[in-house]
């Protein structure tokens, strides 16, 4: 499988916050890679780094940042804006951040195609209608003439997805695309993304804090904590043999119908996600980790548990790797 997006050694500092601290991950063609973690751990900043959309005052460093084999880490704003919305597209949790309330759905959707491709209007309208139908919107003609506020949350998110697909992107970055939606609509949107990926061969980087979503849609998972990817594995391996103490803790916190009896406590992790200052060294989880030792304040090795399963922790991987060989 060939790599579509390769992030190596990404560091982002925003003011006095070390938002991302040496994160690496690869999204392959036709694959869904989920980036999961609790709020503030650096998921969105990682995504915005790739798109060249970091907030003002951010500093970004990378060892490598490649898109379809091309190094884009030193691209200027002009080259990046040519890529954005064309070969790579992004959708956000709150569709109103990217939909302009003053323009109709139709004019916003066609604008993307006209800007990047110079497509004539009538042809762009056809394409927009076709994509709205593709994302499960009945009566696309009616929707094209409507303004974003006239649509329900679920419809808006579908419009966002359709808009992101106007130029046939190779990479779609979706940042919590269903977090604001009801579970029923969430299931519909996730099915839609999975279907599109299969049909169009998209690479998807899906950001979520929901391990249920990860289990159901990801090919590969990276767990992020305090700006680092602490564990990365093929989906089945992550859920059947989670290794990092944070991943294990996180999985034990999630209520699953039929798993934990009522009146028996859920697993929980004491404390909260820290905000990390630049210059912080050692494992970002050590305040909350039951396994912490003095070594956890030093340099933490990235250990190979075998089968593409990597863990950032001083402890030896408990599963796979050496044991399986």
């Amino acid at each position: 499988m060939s790599a579509l997006l390769e992030i190596e050694g990404l560091r982002v500092t925003i003011g006095s916050t070390a938002a991302v601290r040496g994160a690496s991950l690869t999204v392959n063609k036709g694959e869904t890679h989920c980036l999961v973690g609790e709020s503030g751990c650096g998921k969105s900043i990682t995504a915005l780094s790739v798109m060249g959309l970091l907030p003002k005052g951010s500093r970004r460093e990378t060892t490598a940042l490649r898109f379809a084999g091309q190094e884009i880490g030193r691209f200027g704003e002009r080259d990046m804006s040519r890529l954005r919305g064309d070969r790579m597209a992004m959708i956000f949790q709150e569709p109103m951040t990217s939909l302009n309330p003053a323009y109709t759905v139709g004019s916003q959707m066609t604008e993307v195609l006209r800007r990047h491709r110079g497509t004539p209007r009538a042809q762009a309208v056809d394409r927009a209608a076709e994509l709205l139908a593709r994302v499960g919107i009945t009566a696309p003609g009616l929707r094209l003439g409507q303004f974003p506020h006239q649509l329900s949350g679920g419809l808006r998110q579908r419009v966002m997805i359709a808009m992101a697909l106007m130029c046939d992107p190779e990479l779609l970055i979706a940042d919590e695309p269903t977090t604001a939606l009801d579970v029923t609509v969430q299931a519909q949107i996730l099915r839609l993304l999975a279907g599109l990926q299969k049909d169009l061969g998209l690479g998807i980087l899906l950001i979520t804090h929901d391990l249920g979503i990860v289990a159901r849609v990801a090919d590969r998972v990276s767990v992020m904590y305090a700006g680092e990817v602490v564990e990365s594995a093929p989906t089945a391996a992550l859920f059947t043999a989670p290794d990092h103490p944070y991943t294990r803790g996180l999985l034990s916190c999630v209520p699953v119908p039929g798993k934990v009896k009522r009146d028996e406590p859920l697993g929980s992790i004491p404390g909260v996600v820290p905000r990390i200052q630049p210059g912080f060294a050692g494992c970002g989880f050590r305040d909350r980790c039951a396994m912490a030792t003095p070594a956890c304040a030093g340099t933490i090795p990235r250990r190979d548990a075998g089968g593409g399963h990597e863990v950032l922790c001083v402890l030896e991987p408990r599963w796979g790797g050496a044991a399986a060989a």
């Binding site: 999975a194 249920g212 009522r262 992790i269």
Partner: protein, 321 residues
């Protein structure tokens, strides 16, 4: 039913008038539509349903924060309307979703928790201090955290403050409206564990509202499913999760994505017609989205079936033997 129900509502209804445009005539939004149920003391009734189905309106009606258009709320056997505000506060208390919005940012934690005691008007200063300290300890906050302001606390700690404030008058009943929805899962687990422990130790009754079905399954002994202002199914938690009867409940449960790899995302078959409380469909209000609707569903409202299992409103559900 033996003994007095902690909460009982009878024919409860609440309408709002909303204008959808400057010149449009006001429309009636029926947020809660003729709802009746009882919550036995010491149990937890979970309420689930999609956004806008009326969960928070129901909570506010039961708390007496909103007058009903019709119907009655009885708390601990007493009519809520006509009850003195202070007496009501000693009986039933809320915990809301967003602790930040519900805590006064200019007051210290211990003063926030003391408010309900002071509002009673007859509790001595020393007693107030003692009971505040007790409540803070109960929810796992330190003395030091008691002198901080809400902005100096994490989301989970703020929710603990809201819980301490709800408990300081030692109420019998707590209405929790999405108490963990704004929290990270690791913190959500801490708060759910705390709420479960408090209920056991203090013998509390909860009305627990959440759009997260897994959370409700974990904490509630009985579950009510709301759709466009009505309770369309109610049953013991185990029964409802194992053998849902109403097509809407089935769709809701099918949408829950448990962390089990390989299962994929199910097709819930609801289509894209979204429910709108300003335009409640005739017949069964779920029929435009119902995957198993039959001809009469669009013309005749289903009867309310009450049987040994619980309650269901669907033409296709048969009385349990």
């Amino acid at each position: 039913m033996s003994g007095t129900a902690a909460i009982e509502v009878r024919g409860l209804k609440r309408e709002f008038r909303v204008r959808q445009g400057l010149f449009a005539p006001p429309k009636r939004v029926i947020a809660v539509d003729d709802v009746s149920f009882a919550v036995p003391a010491g149990s937890v009734l979970g309420v689930v349903g999609e956004s806008g189905c009326g969960k928070s309106t129901l909570a506010r009606l039961i708390l007496g924060l909103l007058p009903p258009t019709a119907g009655d709320v009885l708390v601990d056997g007493q009519r809520l309307s006509g009850m003195d505000r202070r007496a009501r506060a000693r009986l039933i208390q809320p915990v809301f979703q967003d602790p930040f919005a519900s805590l006064n940012p200019k007051r210290r934690v211990r003063d926030i928790v003391a408010m309900p005691l002071i509002a009673q008007g007859n509790i001595a200063g020393a007693d107030v201090d003692r009971r505040v300290a007790e409540a803070l300890e109960r929810v796992g906050l330190s003395k030091d955290q008691g002198v901080r302001f809400p902005a100096q606390l994490s989301g989970g700690q703020r929710q603990r403050v809201a819980i301490a404030r709800a408990l300081v008058l030692r109420p019998r009943i707590v209405v929790c409206d999405e108490p963990t929805s704004a929290l990270d899962v690791s913190v959500q687990a801490q708060i759910l564990n705390l709420l479960a422990e408090l209920r056991r130790d203090l013998g509390l009754t909860y009305l627990f509202i959440s759009h997260n079905l897994a959370v409700v399954e974990h904490i509630a002994s009985e579950v009510a499913v709301m759709y466009l202002g009505r309770i369309v199914e109610r049953a013991e938690s185990e029964t409802l999760f194992a053998t849902p009867r109403h097509p809407y409940t089935k769709a809701l449960l099918a949408s829950v994505l448990t962390p089990e790899p390989g299962l994929g995302v199910p097709d819930v078959g609801l289509g894209d017609a979204m429910p709108d409380p300003a335009n409640i469909p005739p017949g069964c209000r779920f029929h435009p989205r119902c995957p198993v609707a039959v001809a009469k569903c669009s013309v005749a409202a289903p009867p309310t079936l009450r049987d040994a299992v619980g309650l269901a409103e669907c033409h296709l559900v048969e009385r349990a033997a």
